[in-house]
Amino acid sequence: MEDNDRLIEQFMKQSRQEIADNGFTERVMRSLPEPKAQHDWLPAVWNGVMIVVAIVLFVLFGGVTIVQNALYHYLDGVLTQGIDIRVIGALMVAYVIFVCHRALKIAR
């Protein structure tokens, strides 16, 4: 019985062959189905619903008033004290970084 085991094991291992791809993968990749169209609209609908929910909650919890007040205080401060030079500097640095980032993205 053990002899049979050894005989078959040896025979099968010797017969084991690695099969070269020879374009098989490409054929498989060409035959793959495209993702089903019905799944495409699901994330878009989900995003839309979540955006509407976020806007409703923002309005319900007084977000509009908070933003209005913040803007009012900021503009009031600018008008009474002038714009801080550091704010302009920070905005310029941010702008330069943004432009560089876009340029790199386009170059890629």
Binding site: L7, I8, F11, K13, Q17, D21
Partner: protein, 180 residues
């Protein structure tokens, strides 16, 4: 062993629909899957490639059902086994025969000379289930537990198929001058 790279590739396909990641999986496992079919069909390379292609397409469309609990290669073998037995069933219903007889002449496209020809001739002596168990166990070195997982058979049934297949195959090999 389920390699992390397999799980990473599966994740890329499922989450990002990255076909390039699936291309890598096919390249990695094509030899294993095609060899499985070559052994099951006793060397019919054209049929083997068709069935292997079906296997990868099925794997692609049901990749989100791969949970990473099982080895990716075991999961793939399971699909291959189902594809093969669906094919066998369809042949049986159309030709109404008990065993699908593989045309030995059809298999000559592979370089099946010498030992390669012998292995297919030896495998032809076995029933389909015995052939599956013998090739997975001896050629692919898959454990009995995993073979049971792939085929959906009980471990005891796998052992019986192995035992019967081993006896038939050993007799055939001895009759043909092996093991002297």
């Amino acid at each position: 062993m389920n390699s992390l790279s397999d799980i990473a590739l599966v994740t890329q396909v499922v989450v990002m629909h990255n076909k390039g990641a699936f291309d890598q999986l096919v390249r990695k496992y094509q030899s294993q899957v095609r060899r499985f079919f070559l052994n099951q069909t006793c060397g019919d390379s054209e049929l083997s490639d068709d069935l292997a292609q079906d296997t990868f397409i099925k794997a692609y469309t049901s990749l989100n059902s791969f949970k990473g609990m099982a080895n990716f290669s075991t999961w793939l073998y399971r699909i291959a086994y189902n594809v093969f037995f669906d094919y066998i069933r369809s042949q049986k219903t159309t030709s109404d025969i008990e065993e699908v007889a593989w045309d030995a002449n059809y298999s000559n496209e592979q370089q099946d000379i010498g030992q390669k020809m012998d292995v297919y001739a030896a495998l032809q002596q076995l029933k389909e289930a015995e052939r599956t168990c013998i090739t997975l166990f001896y050629m692919e070195e898959v454990e009995i537990k995993k073979i049971a997982e792939i085929t959906g058979m009980a471990e005891g049934t796998v052992k019986s198929h192995l035992s019967r297949g081993k006896e038939k195959m050993a007799n055939y090999l001895k009759q043909n001058g092996y093991g002297r």
